[in-house]
């Protein structure tokens, strides 16, 4: 099943993801940077599909490309004239060195490690299996995640609320 289509899709989507990550770095306009970020998220959703993770790909498009993207656009619109644009701190070169060394180490480990026998078959359909796993083995983290979400939502509302008492 791992035909030439998956290979082509991997290279196209991988190059798109890395190129749009570079776009975030290079874009001078903050809104352009957000659009590059959303393109990265969509490319990663495509990569999830090449790994036969269809449900996670849909969740990625909905939550990351949709919700987080719109949230970041809102934050940029609500902080106009932040006056710094998309400029860099003095750690531009040092950050590049640190990031390059770290990715180099991770890539070296990924290539050198013997991962044992790998399975060649992907998953046929994952939505049902994920739903059953969430409500069976992972039910406690699932409930904690819902509490965390409501706490974060209330916290965000309280943080940005205009002062009424004054």
């Amino acid at each position: 099943m791992d035909g030439v289509g998956v290979t082509v899709a991997f290279w196209v989507l991988g190059v798109t993801a890395v190129a749009s990550a570079v776009g975030i770095m290079l874009a001078r306009n903050l809104l352009h940077a957000v659009l590059w970020l959303i393109l990265t998220f969509v490319a990663l959703a495509g990569l999830f599909i090449t790994l036969t993770a269809d449900f996670v790909a849909v969740a990625q498009v909905l939550v990351y490309a949709g919700a987080v993207g719109v949230l970041v656009i809102f934050a940029i619109m609500l902080t106009p004239n932040s006056a710094v644009g998309n400029s860099e701190t003095r750690f531009f070169g040092a950050g590049f060195v640190v990031a390059t060394v770290l990715s180099g180490i991770m890539a070296y480990v990924a290539v050198k490690t013997d991962w044992g026998t790998l399975k060649s078959e992907g998953f046929a359909s994952t939505a049902q299996a994920i739903g059953q796993a969430l409500l069976d083995r992972y039910v406690l983290p699932f409930e904690i995640a819902s509490v965390l979400l409501i706490a974060a939502m209330v916290g965000a509302i309280v943080l940005v609320r205009a002062d009424q008492e004054a």
Binding site: A21, L78, N86, S103, M106, A110, F123, I130, R137, L159
Partner: protein
């Protein structure tokens, strides 16, 4: 050419490095948050790749990696909401989200 686990791991290492560079080098707090989201996404790609290629041990859920990614997405969404609310609150008080200018605790 065949796409294997190593391809995905190297790609996510590159994406993680890009996210780390953005988070370290940028001046605007919102762009730094975007770098952090990029790093989380790179880790998600790693989890999904391992889930696809490495067989689960006996008695373990074969789908565990994807369930972890669902939790990571949940926590990342909550984190993004709180962090952006913080950025807006800081902007209200200081009229800037430049991390070099937010130095009240510096001495």
């Amino acid at each position: 050419m065949h796409v294997s686990l190593e391809h995905y791991l190297i790609l996510s290492a590159i994406l993680f490095g890009m996210g780390l560079w953005i988070a370290l080098a940028k001046r605007n707090a919102i762009i730094i948050l975007m770098g952090i989201e990029l790093m989380l996404n790179a880790v998600n790609l790693t989890l999904i790749a391992f889930n696809r290629f490495v067989p689960a041990p006996a008695g373990r859920s074969p789908i565990a990696g994807q369930v972890f990614v669902i939790f990571v997405i949940t926590v990342a969404a909550a984190e993004a909401a709180v962090a952006l609310a913080l950025a807006v609150a800081v902007y209200r008080n200081r009229s800037t989200v430049d991390i070099d200018k937010i130095d009240l605790l510096k001495f």
